[in-house]
């Protein structure tokens, strides 16, 4: 199920909330786990088995690894348990996400068609953080199966993040009383995120789809399309994170922040500290630092960066464009680290322009999975393809101009600060705003057919 659906907004959520408020506190986690499993199973009930398997398996690995320590087994044996746990999790991910791609490389004729279970990359990473941190003795293994199931399956952040590491949420799993303030903030944040997704991201995405569909669109339209996708992916993804964080907060959970005005960054390095923050933290914690991070020779450091970014690329999807996209950022980060970083630090304006440029180009590598089409689109952005004339710029601008303008304005920190001031100081006005936005979202959802879920490849 996705948040931006009438099923969620008018059936699932009201029902879950009502039941959650009616049951005694001791039954709250059971309600949330049941709701999360229904949420996950909706549309693809088969993969519920996978989710249950992941819960059972990681629960067991946590206890196993811990017992190995208690029984004083040798480090090699303890390590063996860890490796088994990590391998089991990764094997699911590899099978469901990458088997098709690997077959297409080595045995295209036999490529199996495996549907990707939604959210598998997100909850696999969450599970890995648990198994690894139990091994590192950073956390105690969880004995209570129900609250462990809640950690793996909690529906707000189940299918599109934020990726919550176990150690960040451990105490909340059995005790999440919430507060009046959290309830109000959470509800408002959810509705705000919904509006970002439905009212801005969907329209911007439709614009990009139209421009992309026109084939050779000329320089201006190609950049306009790339910019529209840049808005779409931000409003969609950060909107989704807001919705997740908002609902989580209503149920008494505090999730880590996932986006922090990424498009204001002055360098790619800064951009990746502000974009999908929980993914970056995960890779730093469980890949980059274990490889030695930057406290190694220059050669090894460059290797580490490339490994992390190659993995980041393919985490987003099994395809050449994602590999290319990951390496693109890996190389840019190496360039910033060793060549232009200091200059960028002292030149904020050129830094912003450069960052916007490479990020927008990067999004095209990300968005267009067909390499031939990607090449043509990039050539079109470079001015090497003439406008085929099928596209009416007048229509695009009149149809989407207001959304582009609103979306662009929303990127400016001063503008989004106004929203925060209203939400915290002018309660009635905030109420009116979110109520109107909610009705507009429902009106848009029942009518407009363009409402994609972008993370099905993740």
């Amino acid at each position: 199920m996705v948040f931006s659906s009438i099923t969620f907004l008018l059936y699932f959520f009201p029902l879950v909330w009502l039941v959650y408020r009616l049951v005694p506190r001791s039954a709250e986690n059971a309600v949330l786990v049941a709701a999360s499993l229904v949420f996950y199973a909706w549309g693809e009930p088969v993969y519920l088995l996978l989710m249950l398997l992941s819960i059972g398996m990681n629960y067991a690995f946590g206890l196993l690894i811990d017992r190995a320590r208690e029984e004083g087994m040798s480090p090699a044996k303890r390590r063996f348990h860890l490796v088994m746990g990590v391998a089991a999790n990764l094997s699911f991910l590899v099978f469901f996400k990458y088997a098709g791609f690997l077959f297409s490389l080595f045995a295209p004729a036999n490529a199996p068609e495996i549907a990707l279970p939604v959210g598998i990359s997100f909850y696999t990473f969450q599970a890995l953080s648990y198994v690894i941190d139990v091994y590192r003795e950073k956390v105690r293994p969880r004995k209570d199966l129900l609250s462990f199931a809640l950690y793996i399956s909690l529906f707000p952040q189940l299918i599109a993040g934020p990726i919550v590491q176990y150690k960040e949420i451990e105490p909340q799993l059995s005790h999440h009383p919430g507060s009046r303030k959290m309830l109000q903030e959470g509800l408002w944040l959810f509705l705000w995120g919904l509006a970002k997704k439905v009212l801005i991201a969907n329209a911007a995405g439709q614009m990009f789809t139209e421009i992309r569909g026109a084939g050779g669109a000329g320089v201006f339209a190609s950049w306009l399309g790339a910019f529209a996708f840049t808005l779409q992916i931000y409003y969609d993804f950060s909107g989704y994170s807001d919705m997740a964080t908002g609902i989580g907060r209503m149920f008494g959970f505090r999730f880590p922040q996932n986006f922090d005005a990424p498009y204001t960054s002055r360098s790619v390095t800064e951009f990746w500290r502000r974009w999908h923050i929980t993914l970056g933290s995960w890779f730093r914690e469980y890949v980059y630092i274990p490889l030695g991070g930057n406290r190694v020779s220059r050669g090894r450091h460059i290797r580490n960066l490339l490994v992390v970014w190659l993995l980041t690329g393919i985490w987003h999807g099994a395809g050449w464009n994602f590999i290319l996209w990951g390496l693109y950022y890996g190389l840019l980060l190496i360039l910033e680290k060793y060549v232009i970083g200091d200059w960028l630090d002292t030149h904020p304006l050129p830094g912003r322009i450069y960052t916007a440029f490479v990020v927008i180009v990067g999004w095209m590598i990300f968005a267009i999975t067909d390499m031939g089409e990607l090449g043509r689109y990039l050539l079109s952005m470079a001015g090497a393809v003439r406008n085929a004339g099928a596209l009416s710029l007048r229509r695009l601008l009149s149809g989407y101009g207001a959304v582009l303008a609103a979306g662009t304005a929303g990127l400016i920190p001063q503008v989004s600060r106004i929203r925060k001031v209203i939400f915290s100081n002018y309660k009635v006005l905030a109420f009116v705003i979110v109520a109107v936005l909610f009705v507009l979202c429902v009106a848009s959802l029942i009518r407009d057919s363009y409402n994609p879920f972008l993370y099905f490849r993740f």
């Binding site: 199920m1 659906s5 009438i6 099923t7 008018l10 059936y11 009201p14 009502l18 909706w42 549309g43 009930p45 088969v46 507060s179 009046r180 303030k181 109000q184 903030e185 509800l187 408002w188 944040l189 705000w192 995120g193 994170s241 807001d242 964080t245 922040q257 996932n258 986006f259 922090d260 005005a261 009416s392 007048r394 229509r395 601008l397 009149s398 149809g399 989407y400 101009g401 207001a402 959304v403 920190p413 989004s416 925060k420 001031v421 939400f423 915290s424 309660k427 009635v428 905030a430 109420f431 979110v434 009705v439 507009l440 429902v442 009106a443 848009s444 959802l445 029942i446 009518r447 407009d448």
Partner: protein, 398 residues
């Protein structure tokens, strides 16, 4: 920063109260929405609404139930008509003048985006027309009615760039005809007559993709000339003033309503007719369906819709036969042709599933009129499929 609200020492009661009010309203609306009985059709949108999906374990497991549930939830949402209007007006307020293939023009005009032709476009329907004339030897008149966007380009919104669009429509159609010569076919160019009529009458509906009866009347002399006939005079009788057509349904813009007129011969009695619709028991005695006027789709007053084959016998004797290949644009023109022929056979290729060869052989003495909207003609694949090649030489009797 989208996540952290500003830190406040004391959360105000007011905010919490408002959030509660919101939640209570939300749950109440959800309950009412779930308990209200389902509707079967949407009159405004002219379509059947999705009902509650069939619930079986199998359908749940393969995801069909869930998918259909979302369609049901969307279609049966509380206040759907109002929400659709809200969405359309909101979108317009933001400057969007294009919705689902429809331009939202000036003074309540809704105008369909015309079919864009590229130079390499083939027209299968044109090939069929050529076969009718040169293969089968029929005397053929071709009346392809231009699209509203071409004739009413100045009603299009700025974003559509009406003048340029109309020019493209005109020249690309002319280029298509040039590229596919039609020996033995009289091409009736109705565009000048329609353009000339624009200043004194309404030749297309504001809310529907059809031309009006007034438009058909304006084009009548051109079409009859193509058939070698002369037009009589007609006046228009208004039979409906609350018509909201397909473009209103598609765009969600219901602001204005249209009138529907029927033609009445001046100084001559109405033609008595017998109408035989293939697959229907009994005969009709009128080309109109007056009961449609009080229905959800008053446009069906013309013939009650489209049929594969329909034979109309008039009171005229010895005036010959007319075979018409048509889409729904022809329906309002038909009453004005009745006095010209003894028999008119209407074929709508989209629904025709008889033996076409037999039909053509039985109509060898007839004139042929191919009458379509331009959009219908350019996108039609059926006509070409049903008109067979005729083998050279005399056909053996069958």
């Amino acid at each position: 920063m989208e996540h952290e609200g500003q830190k406040q020492p004391n959360p105000t009661r007011k905010g919490f109260l408002l959030a509660r009010v919101f939640l209570v309203l939300w749950i109440a609306v959800a309950l009412v929405n779930a308990l209200l009985p389902s509707k079967e059709i949407s009159v405004r949108e002219r379509r059947a609404l999705a009902g509650f999906p069939e619930f079986t374990l199998r359908r749940v497991l393969d995801g069909r139930f869930e998918e259909e549930f979302e369609a049901y939830a969307k279609d049966q949402v509380l206040g759907r008509d109002a929400l659709v209007t809200l969405n359309a007006s909101g979108s317009r307020a933001l400057g969007n003048v294009y919705a689902s293939g429809v331009w939202i023009g000036k003074d309540g005009w809704l105008i369909e985006d015309p079919v864009r032709l590229s130079p390499e476009n083939e027209s299968p329907a044109l090939a069929a027309v050529r076969r009718l004339a040169s293969g089968w030897g029929f005397e053929v008149a071709l009346a392809v009615i231009p699209e509203a966007a071409e004739i009413l380009y100045d009603r299009l919104p700025w974003a559509a760039d009406g003048a340029a669009l109309a020019g493209t429509c005109r020249t690309s159609w002319a280029a298509l005809l040039d590229a596919h010569p039609l020996p033995g076919v009289t091409v009736c160019d109705t565009a000048p007559a329609l353009s000339a009529a624009v200043s004194r009458t309404q030749v297309y509906y504001r809310t529907d993709h059809h031309w009006t009866t007034a438009g058909a009347l304006a084009a009548l002399p051109v079409i009859l000339e193509g058939l070698g006939k002369e037009a009589g005079t007609f006046e228009l009788l208004k039979v409906c003033d609350s018509f909201r057509g397909t473009l209103a349904s598609a765009s969600g813009v219901y602001g204005t309503a249209d009138e529907i007129d029927v033609p009445v011969p001046v100084g001559r009695p109405d033609e008595p007719v017998l109408v035989q619709v293939d697959g229907e028991n009994g005969l009709r005695t009128s080309v109109y369906r007056l009961d449609a006027l009080s229905s959800d789709d008053p446009y069906l007053v013309f013939m009650g819709g489209n049929y594969g084959k329909c034979t109309i016998t008039t009171g005229e004797t010895g005036k010959g036969r007319l075979l018409v290949f048509k889409d729904s644009y022809f329906n309002c023109l038909l009453p004005m042709l009745l006095e010209q022929y003894s028999e008119i056979v209407l074929i709508d290729p989209r629904y025709f599933d008889d033996d076409p060869e037999l039909l053509l052989l039985s109509m060898q003495d007839a004139q042929v009129l191919v009458c379509y909207s331009r959009a219908g003609f350019l996108t039609d694949l059926r006509l070409n499929r049903i008109i067979p090649e005729r083998a050279a030489g005399p056909q053996p009797d069958r």
